[in-house]
Symmetry: C2
Subunit: 398 residues, 2 copies
């Protein structure tokens, strides 16, 4: 019998995190579940000044329909920042403004994937990407993520037998693991893809939030044939305005993306594009980012220190050099879903690993966020979580 | 050979109008091509006051990530307005806020259509809907639009042989024709669909802009089994903020829409949702709409009067009771594309009918917009267009 609904929606799950967030709205709960920036990092006064200024100087035009590609001065600003950071010749026509980088995934899935086409993901991968790409009904392939990036031998093996339409990566402080690709891995990945049509997507919402070590160039700069970068103002200015972008020098891909963007929502909120651009040219973004990084580094260190103090020694955790998340691996015999129930009772929340796996999941993993709690709360939350882990341990050894 | 790109994007055209708008950016040209609200109708000062107020009273929260469904007080406002206008029990949970109503089409296509599924359109239909639905690769069916709505006999015939997944309609002051469904047609349509799973989509961006006659209830209120309404603040407050909505009491459809919305862009620009809501509760929207209607009615009358004065008698035009557009039918032997070239040379632009037809097009039709030009400009533009029509007439009779 044919259903009222399409196969794509019947095969796409609701976001696990968004469901968890509903549960954790209880104020007693310390939540490490979300991926929210710390609101004290939002430059509210400067944004209000910008909004006042653009209304005075640009009047009605900022309230009107606008071009699909996005506000040209904002695209120029982003192009210049890429050029300055990485010494590449990025131009405004290489940029499309999107309604957050989540929309970039929707558009890329739409233009690249036919039902059943192969798509390669990191294992584990960002759950929002899995959800969004699901809508184009691909077959998912996965490559294990190591502390220096995707397992290169496994990657070569995959490309010997498969030609995935795209490889979706988060090279800096990955969501969910916090892991970062090494320079060597980036070079090898760029080289591997130099003669392949596989579109290399590097989604980089956290790249500017590096606490230690040096900024590394994108893998796409090392010869990958088809390279697409995603960026966003969500973690460095404000997420509520939903302003992200796609950057690619591939004219064919950009042309198709613009058509898909027209069909999706005509254009991104123009008022907010102009407001954020005005904020960027009248304020010191780098100084603002330094403030955010100092805040998050302290919270990250508190979380890592508390974990070392309270967690059993057989629990592993990544030591993210930036970004928003740590990834916890419990002993193999433990289930993060079981732990979630115990932790909820102790009023602390996290995201079990399950939704970050497109195919086979590793049930003893979980993601914790440190950006949206102060250090004292982080210590208390980790303490509660440790108690829950010990309780689970006891259950297993009984 | 398999392409880099998906079939859906290879089969979707760029928006004809957006391409025309680039051509008509020349300031010498009088453009009746766009579908832009008149910028003098934007309540800029009131919106700025609202933005100031929400920053003062709500602080950081309006810059943070938010729920997928949309800002609850805004959904409550829209629910109450529907209830007040039509005496129905619409609740906030029947509403999903979208990034303009264009996104509503994207989401509905995604959740309802598998490749090859049948979709029913008015003939002609809104080109943005054709483009957006194309991305889900349906088979298009069309029903002729008459001055009182879709041809009911043809509609019954279609439903005898087909079971389209959805019927996309613009019941009030349709884009492109300006035509409105009569009360009888609405009743008959609701009745026809009372036992059918075909989702009746009534897209109503212009419904509040009625210059004459009485507001009519939606066809969905007359017993249609699966009814979905689309609305937007683009034509009554501002289009630049891209705030639209989907209203349906069908829980299954709403549930699937929320999943598709998560995957598409997490949620609509939250800052703008809160700003528009604050504007709505602190200002008299009905009075504002009266001002817009008075402005547009004058422009519409000027356009109709000028057409009667200048156009040859064998050219037909619809007399829209509201909205933004008139639809011109040239004698059958004339081509609107040919006219477009002549008109461009005479510095006047419109949209040829072609992109409004999903299947067979009627080449002697065209759409003209009256909302974004003052009366003097409208007279001059219609005069130029008349001259171009006479030139084309002469070419044919030579």
């Amino acid at each position: 019998m044919s259903s009222l609904f399409s196969n794509r929606i019947l095969n796409t799950k609701k976001s696990f995190i968004r469901e968890i967030l509903k549960v954790t709205s209880n104020k007693e709960i310390i939540s490490f579940a979300g991926g929210l920036p710390n609101p004290i990092s939002f430059p509210i006064e400067a944004l209000e000044a910008s909004i006042h200024r653009i209304i005075q100087t640009q009047g009605t035009s900022i309230f009107q329909y606008a071009t699909t590609e996005g506000y040209l001065p904002l695209r120029e600003y982003i192009a210049k920042r890429y050029t300055k950071r990485f010494g590449l010749d990025i131009k405004p026509e290489h940029l499309l403004i999107t309604s957050g980088s989540q929309q970039a995934l929707d558009l890329l899935g739409k233009i690249l994937i036919n039902e059943g086409d192969e798509v390669l993901l990191e294992k584990p991968s960002y759950l929002g990407a899995i959800q969004s790409l699901c809508m184009s009904e691909p077959t998912f392939l996965e490559v294990n993520l190591t502390p220096s990036g995707p397992d290169l031998k496994a990657l070569e093996e995959i490309f010997t037998h498969h030609a995935p339409k795209l490889f979706y990566t988060v090279p800096n402080f990955q969501n969910p693991t916090g892991l970062t690709y090494s320079l060597e891995t980036r070079k090898a990945l760029g080289k591997l893809l130099h003669d392949k049509d596989t579109v290399l997507i590097e989604d980089d919402p956290y790249g500017e939030l590096r606490f230690m070590g040096e900024d590394l160039p994108y893998s796409g700069f090392f010869g990958a044939k088809r390279s697409v970068l995603l960026g966003s103002f969500s973690k460095i200015v404000t997420p509520g305005m939903r302003i992200g972008w796609i950057c690619t020098q591939d004219e064919e891909i950009m042309d198709k993306l613009i058509t898909a963007k027209q069909a999706a929502d005509l254009h991104t909120n123009y008022f907010s594009q102009v407001a954020i651009h005005d904020y960027l040219i009248h304020n010191d973004l780098d100084a603002h980012i330094q403030t955010i990084k100092a805040l998050y580094l302290k919270q990250r260190n508190t979380m890592l220190d508390s974990i070392k103090e309270y967690f059993p020694a057989n629990v592993e955790v990544t030591e993210a050099e930036g970004g928003m998340f740590l990834w916890v691996t419990l002993p193999a015999y433990m289930s993060a879903l079981e732990l979630f129930d115990l932790a909820s009772k102790a009023n602390v929340a996290f995201v079990p690993g399950e939704p970050f796996y497109a195919n086979d999941m590793q049930p003893n993993t979980l993601r914790i966020n440190y950006t949206n709690s102060d250090p004292a709360t982080i210590r208390e939350g980790i303490k509660r979580l440790a108690t829950a882990i010990y309780t689970l341990e006891t259950k297993h050894t009984l």
